[in-house]
């Protein structure tokens, strides 16, 4: 029995270090590409212009269906974000009506401390779409992409955290007019390559030219007004909504890790010095 186990051991050990790939259940979802994001990796920061454009897409398109209940107006002027001024944020908030049982009439204009109001009640949303469009507060972290076995280990070293924006970008570009042969698309649903199960209740929200960006003369940056660009911008904005303090977090990270590395170096020498006289 010892011999047998040894052989089994050798086979297993060899097999595990060999080219191991977990076979996932067969599905026809095309692989979601890793896009390059300004906020990707440990050095990444948000691009102010991109966040402003993404905010515009969110405001003009998505926010008519999706809520963002944890996003406060004031967040939009905080450091590390889209860089709006406090005045701009105040004016923006005032354009929205906030339900407030404490005031007369139950409603008042928004202030910077308010959170983004929901566009419709859950019941209305259910009536229109059959489902409630998911809230956007943390959606960019609530979706992700999966990598096959050895590759996800690499993510630990590159600190890849952008699966959510990659998925959102792919989703918005994944609509098809024609449904693949043999696929039964239920009434009121749309075919999407990347949505799990492919039948999504969200109508394609964006098309080329749908949002009019400010160009360079108006204080923006010239970018193409295409579906691909819109979806990148809104995905970046949603990442920001989910992680508003990412830049500050990373900055602290550099300080902490630098400190730890220096301290470890120092300790190494102290320890070696201390133990120098001892055979061990």
């Amino acid at each position: 029995m010892t011999m047998k186990t040894l052989i089994a051991a050798a086979c297993l050990a060899f097999g595990l270090v060999g080219p191991v790939l977990a076979q996932e259940g067969a599905h026809s979802t095309p692989e979601i590409a890793k896009e390059s994001w300004s906020f990707g990796g440990v050095f990444g920061t948000y691009d102010e212009h991109q966040l402003q454009r993404g905010f515009q897409v969110f405001r003009e398109s998505c926010s008519s269906c999706h809520s963002a209940r944890l996003l406060a107006f004031r967040n939009l002027s905080e450091p590390g974000g889209p860089g709006f001024t406090e005045g701009q944020v105040k004016a923006l908030a005032a354009e929205y009506t906030i339900a407030d049982p404490l005031v007369e009439g139950g409603e008042r204009p928004g202030v910077a401390a308010d959170r983004w109001p929901a566009p419709m009640s859950e019941a209305d949303a259910k009536a229109s779409f059959g489902v409630v469009p998911p809230d956007f507060s943390v959606i960019a972290k609530a979706r992700g992409t999966t990598q096959q076995f050895p590759w996800w280990i690499v993510n630990y070293f590159t600190a890849y955290q952008e699966g959510g924006p990659d998925y959102i970008h792919a989703l918005l570009n994944g609509y098809h007019e024609e449904v693949p042969e043999g696929f039964e698309l239920p009434e009121g649903k749309y075919y999407n390559d990347y949505f799990p199960g492919h039948a999504i209740s969200m109508p394609p929200p964006l098309t080329d030219g749908a949002v009019d960006y400010a160009d360079a003369e108006e204080g923006g940056v010239n970018v193409p007004e295409t579906l691909d660009q819109y979806s990148r911008d809104v995905a970046a904005f949603l990442m920001y909504v989910a992680e508003p303090h990412m830049v500050a977090r990373k900055e602290t990270g550099f300080r902490v890790i630098l400190f730890l590395v220096l301290l470890a170096g120092l300790m190494f020498f102290v320890k070696r010095r201390l133990w120098a006289g001892i055979e061990h």
Partner: protein
């Protein structure tokens, strides 16, 4: 170990105190003078790392609890608002969540160190048993903590894992209801889990005190497994071991900080950023990575054994996988402690480590998938079998076939031999 003390109170007050509560004497004996084998390697620093991790978990946890609301309507948002609106909230929350993972990294290394160097053998059986008890307490605490943010994985992991208790004959159903506070996981479950999650770390801290007490009676084992023979074999705990442990702790903090600041969510599951919903089952329910080996064992039993149905069978193997650890000191019959001097044991041990990692991998694989061309259920059965064969067959029987290498006469001799070789 420390009956004869070298402490002489330096002033009238400490003399007065020493006659009433010899706490200074005690600290000096156990934190400064405690004789430690001088040949300990860095695998022996993980105990200190674990103590530091426990403190970090308790401190960050207490602060998180100040902002957390244990109510199913508010729990999810309270955690997210803590991340966004509390000063340093993002870092505190990440430190606690990543900290749990790092705690388990450290404890697995600590356990496998013990298994290799035979640290569980006489006279350290009680020390080992207390260790296994700590492991059980850690598992329970982490499981309950994971439920608190009330995301989809929290909810469904809680449902699946508590469900297995229902499989226990006779009492299962009533224990299950008691644990959940109802027929399904809901608000009462969340409340009791929060209460227990706050309590258990302090029980862990108390057991750690016993664990270290049980360490200080026989003293440390060491890489040779040979007993300490004279003071030449040891160094005082302070400054030698304190300095070395501190260095290791700082090194351990580097990957910890890496995850906290640069990839705080990478060890978690995206689904846990979706609020719990009892109407929507996630496509693929997976527990946290540190439970995966045991989860794989649970799932491996998908067949009935005589009158025991597969569900109960799974629970028996799952519980058995941990219970067997309590008996390791008596299952291993070899008089030689350290794996370094056991030429055959080494291989079985290496395979055991690979097998354990394999189980973790299988625990995360979808049940209808394939790994290395073998379907997941079959592969899980093979790995589960080896897990138990290692403890129940190999450890007891191997010594009969094994010729161990000659042991050094003492630690000092071994150290000198190394230096001159």
């Amino acid at each position: 170990m420390s009956e004869h003390s070298t402490y002489t109170p330096g002033n009238p007050f400490s003399k007065w105190l020493d006659d009433r509560l010899p706490i200074i004497r005690f600290s000096k004996e156990h934190l400064l003078d405690y004789p430690t084998p001088k040949n300990l390697n860095y695998w022996w620093t993980f105990g200190a790392i674990l103590v530091v991790m426990l403190v970090i978990q308790i401190v960050t946890g207490i602060i998180l609890a100040m902002h957390y609301t244990p109510n199913i309507a508010m729990a999810f948002d309270s955690v997210e608002l803590l991340r966004r609106d509390v000063n340093s909230g993002r870092v505190l929350q990440a430190a606690h969540a990543v900290g749990a993972s790092m705690f388990f990294v450290a404890v697995y290394i600590h356990i496998f160190r013990g298994l290799f160097f035979g640290s569980y053998k006489s006279p350290r059986e009680v020390l080992w048993i207390l260790g296994v008890l700590l492991f059980v307490l850690m598992i329970t605490t982490a499981f309950m903590g994971y439920v608190l943010p009330w995301g989809q994985m929290s909810f469904w992991a809680a449902t699946v894992i508590t469900n297995i208790i229902g499989a226990v004959p006779f009492v299962g159903e009533s224990v299950l209801q008691l644990l959940r506070g109802g027929f399904a996981v809901g608000n009462p479950t969340l409340n009791r889990f929060f209460s227990l999650h706050y309590l258990l770390p302090f029980i862990i801290a108390a057991v750690v005190v016993l664990h270290i007490w049980a360490l200080h009676v026989p003293g440390n084992n060491n890489p040779t497994g040979v007993d300490v023979k004279s003071t030449r074999d040891t160094v005082p705990f302070h400054p030698y071991i304190t300095m070395k442990d501190l260095y290791a702790v700082v090194l351990f903090m580097i990957p910890f900080a890496w995850f906290v600041f640069f990839a705080p969510d990478i060890l978690g599951h995206p689904d846990n950023y979706i609020m719990a919903n009892s109407q929507v089952t996630p496509a693929h329910i997976v527990p946290e990575w540190y439970f995966l080996p045991f989860y794989a064992i649970l799932r491996a039993v998908d067949f009935n054994i005589l009158f025991i149905d597969s569900k109960l069978g799974g629970v028996i193997f799952f519980a058995g996988a941990i219970v067997v650890l309590f008996f390791v000191p008596w299952l291993d019959r070899s008089p030689v402690r350290s794996g370094l001097f056991r030429p055959l044991f080494k291989w079985f041990y290496a395979l055991f480590v690979i097998n354990f990692i394999g189980l973790a991998y299988l625990g995360a694989a979808p049940a209808d998938g394939r790994v290395l061309g073998i379907d997941v259920p079959t592969f899980s059965k093979i790995c589960t079998a080896y897990y138990f064969i290692y403890f129940l067959v190999i450890l007891p029987i191997l010594p009969r076939f094994e010729t161990t290498r000659p042991l050094p006469a003492s630690i000092s001799e071994n150290v000198l031999g190394k230096a001159h070789a």
